[in-house]
Symmetry: C2
């Protein structure tokens, strides 16, 4: 509906995808025209006319616009489908190149000692999600998962859960709301589900500013990942610990025993 706002957002996204501001503006401008000249484009996008030429040339070299070498020359954008497909191809090629090159560098590993307590921090939605999935897939006995927000129940996560449950791993999944619990039960039928309030969290720091819980993951009672989502920036942050003796892990086991997971008997 709001064309103007969408244009601004499209320009922003294109810049995140690697285009310069002028290039992004020109591409969005051309997307609204069947074809246009430098002058028209300049008026419509507020890119200086004399710079339209550079910008379009770059876009052309990336396969995003076509140029008609007449006078005045005309430009037009490729279809949205072609554009997105091209962008995907380019990025995929780069990621594959990264896999090849980084995959074949030798690890020097100056044997950094410290086999001790380690608690690692990582942040970023997708990074944490991947780590979550991977940890689940590596489980051999038990997975305890508490999901704090509906949006975190992604397709990949469901796949990982169903894969691991078919290997005989016990799955215990907690949700914050009934509707979320229902969703989980239909998508992961073999899991034991329950509902947890966050009282155990809130009671600790009632005065702090509200940081919502994201995920809580305990693998085989020896690896833990806890994430929170800051309300403002929507950024997700996680901490992550390994090892049965790890302080964080011990804490988590304690927590569980005290009723985070209601009526669940520790097998050992």
């Amino acid at each position: 509906m709001d064309t103007n706002e969408n244009m601004e957002e499209a320009i922003e996204v294109l810049q995140q995808l690697g285009l310069k501001e002028y290039e992004a503006r020109c591409f969005v401008g051309l997307s609204r025209l069947h074809s246009g000249t430098a002058k028209k484009l300049s008026e419509m996008t507020e890119v200086p006319r004399t710079r339209v030429y550079d910008a379009v040339r770059v876009l052309e070299s990336q396969g995003l616009v076509e140029v008609q070498h007449s006078s005045p020359q005309e430009f037009r954008a490729v279809s949205l489908e072609e554009a997105t497909e091209t962008l995907r191809d380019q990025y995929e090629a780069r990621v594959e190149r990264l896999e090849n090159t980084l995959g074949s560098v030798d690890i020097v590993d100056e044997g950094d000692d410290t086999p001790i307590q380690q608690v690692w921090a990582l942040s970023g939605q997708s990074g944490i999600e991947n780590r979550t999935d991977q940890l689940i897939e590596e489980a051999t006995d038990e997975v305890v998962l508490v999901i704090g927000d509906e949006s975190l129940l992604t397709e990949d996560l469901v796949d990982s859960l169903n894969e691991v449950v078919s290997n005989g791993v016990t799955l215990i999944i907690g949700a914050l709301t009934e509707s979320l619990e229902d969703q989980i039960q239909t998508k992961v039928p073999d899991a034991t589900t329950f509902i947890t309030g966050l009282e155990w969290l809130r009671s600790e720091n009632a005065t702090e500013d509200e940081t919502a819980i994201g995920r809580l993951l305990l693998i085989d009672r020896s690896t833990i990942l806890v994430s929170s989502i800051t309300p403002g920036s929507k950024e997700e942050q996680a901490i992550f610990g390994e090892g049965f003796g790890n302080g964080l892990v011990v804490l988590a086991r304690r927590l569980m025993a005290q009723g985070l997971v209601p009526a669940h008997d520790p097998g050992q």
Copy 2:
């Protein structure tokens, strides 16, 4: 094998993927270590020690490294699989956002007249490839395709060809070498294939520097795309014309009649 060279390339690719130089160097450095401190990283990557902290912080926020908040703090990179998956996710999210926003901007289309002869130029490997595939899929009667290099016979292209041939479109595909012709026949069994030398091209400009022919595509005798690959830069460039009366298209039909496609009788 050549770890050093691969590292340099990995750093380059990471920068293309949006990281800054220091960030890229640090990530590659950490990929060679199970874990490391700022000092060690600095020595190994030639990033100023005091800048390592910033770089790593950015990497952490992108989900590419983990940080242990001890003293001295330790950093470690996520696994290559996690890293590439995260990068893919991020990019895919952006492209989808682009589809949504750009898809819902209104087209103003100040009815740029010029219903006349139009010849458009576009360049870039993937862009041209997507255009090729799309044109093929839109064909209703006949597709004539000449492939100049083995690498251009991609999976997507083969899919498009097989899809369109199942709709009753005549497929005529030319190759430069016998081995390429064989490949085509096995991958696209329903196509009529032949071998073309480039005499018709070479005879025209024997003195010019060698620009290799990439593709030649004629759709329903009314749309043409010709691409060339400059030997040095490996960049592909194409021109593209539509309309039965288009000069370029007429030229192409002429060319065909004169024997580019041997013994093929124009149906009309």
